[in-house]
Amino acid sequence: MAEVSCRKVTKEYDAGVQAVKGIDLDIADHEFVVLVGPSGCGKSTTLRMIAGLEEITSGEIWIDGDVVNDVPPRDRDIAMVFQNYALYPHMSVFDNMAFGLKLRKFPKDEIKRRVDEAGRILDIVPLLERKPRALSGGQRQRVAMGRAIVRNPKVFLFDEPLSNLDAKLRVQMRTEIKKVHQTVRTTTVYVTHDQIEAMTLADRVVVMNGGNIEQVGAPQELYHHPATRFVAGFIGSPAMNFLPCRVQDGPNGGLAIRVTDSITLPVPPGRVERYGKYKDKNMILGLRPEHLFEYHEQGKPGWTRVDLPVDVVEPMGMETMVHFFIDGAPVCARVDPATHAEPNEILPLTADLNQMHLMHPDTGKVV
């Protein structure tokens, strides 16, 4: 158990390509931190630098109060779970899990005790004598986790561990991983490109993009208060709608957001002061699909009605997603499944503007 810190860590490859551009990150003891971002954002490189599998170009990495820049992986006291499991194919499940302990010259009975205990936590005791090729994907993943647990390391590192599993198993193993962490409480750094995995597992999520950290925060914080347009678009599914707009004078001395010639939405009074300095400027309006829904006559007073032609309807059971175009920009709304919506029909919609986000078009910062 230990805390992990990155101080101005950069990684530059031979061709001068910067994969990681000076990140600062502090991970507390027992914390479960998820690095999330699109392919090539530097999340895996960061994890591999913490593991010691990649050298650091500059900066410092601290584990448990020591700078480990030049410490080889085996002396960092970490354990890692790989995307393709990386089990030793010629060894039984028991030997796979015991390998690290054997190399560290643990006594036999201690090895057996630890493997049995990890086997119980992961529910793989009946598989201990099997070879990896006789296991299913989910079982292999459990063994890979078992190999990490038996070592009782300072830090667990997960590199997209669920990407090779099918959708159903992925959800199941996600819960297992969370359960294991609640049991063993080891500091964990977890890399994924799947924002749902990130949201469900993490104490804190680190959103990365282009080698930089965009935002660090608890899952709910990232969801409700994204700092940048990238985070706003990356977290949440379906993704947030973005519409170019202009801030202008509204009714009763307030402000309004003009989206198109026919669509102008009033800014809620509570936000007028915040958005006042952007008057007469072109901005980006961000609105999540769940804050855009069908208009009811008896609904809240003052909410603007917008009539739009439906493009595609996606019923999902507990909700229905409806897709539109506003001035060529795709927009998605989440409506009640009881709502009757057909392609090409006009659907009256309204938006909960108390949940809106306004972004600067050049910097992408949420204002």
Binding site: A51, A86, H90
Partner: protein
Amino acid sequence: MSASTVTERRVAAAAARKHSLHKSRMWALWGSYIALSVFVVMFLVPPFYTLVTSLKSSAEISAQTGSPWLVHSPTLENFWYLITYPNFQRYYLNSVIVTILTVVISMVISVLAAFSLSRMGFWGSQTLSTGVFLTYLVPPSLLFIPLFQIVGQLGLINNFWCLVLLYPTLAVPFCTWIMIGYFSSIPKELDEAALIDGAGYLQMLWRIFIPVAMPGIIAATIFAFTVAWGAFLYPLAYLYTSNQMVLTVGIISDLIRGDVFQWGKIMAACLLASLPPIVIYAFLMDYYVAGLTAGATKG
């Protein structure tokens, strides 16, 4: 046209297609059987003739009556002569010693070389890998004169230990090349997992790579064995007394005296000499094939 006749016609068409599939497969099978038969005849007739001749007495061979493909009075006298013939025993023993040492030396060198070339990623490792393969392309017949100088300076002319020195130069490049291919097919995460688990490079090689790459190692071992057991040019060039000779040159220099060819004994000696490769191939063939095709399928 009623719906039912349409259905019937479609079913009939499907049946006809099925039949034609069957037919084309049959033609393909006939083709392969014919091609394989020609192959089998070409390859098996010489060993068969060797076997037949080895079972004949010298008198029967020189009699030239009847079909040469049949044995009238089979005898094991040729085999018995060879087994009790001290020179032949000497050749056999020399061959075994030279081959075992060549295989061991070649495999140690090539496994270590392949591991470092494929996994340790040092400066110039790519160029070196290519270089190793280019070495293999140099024909041995070009090398035996310059090598004669070296062997001579080492004082190893007419000493079978020179073969232990020379054969690895033939075996190591190809074995290394096979092993580089095999090691490269092992996923990188496996070494990383081992590194994190606490293994050093030698432990990683010994406890992960060698067991996982066993089929490749066996393929390379068989290759090294074949090179050492069957080489003819170098022993012919460097050895000239019968106490130093190995089987390949021993047989022809001992059993052909002037213009007298002792055909029965030559054939029996060839069969006895082929025994170890046959036994080894029979047991290890599956691994051999798996090893040679590993790069293609595992990617």
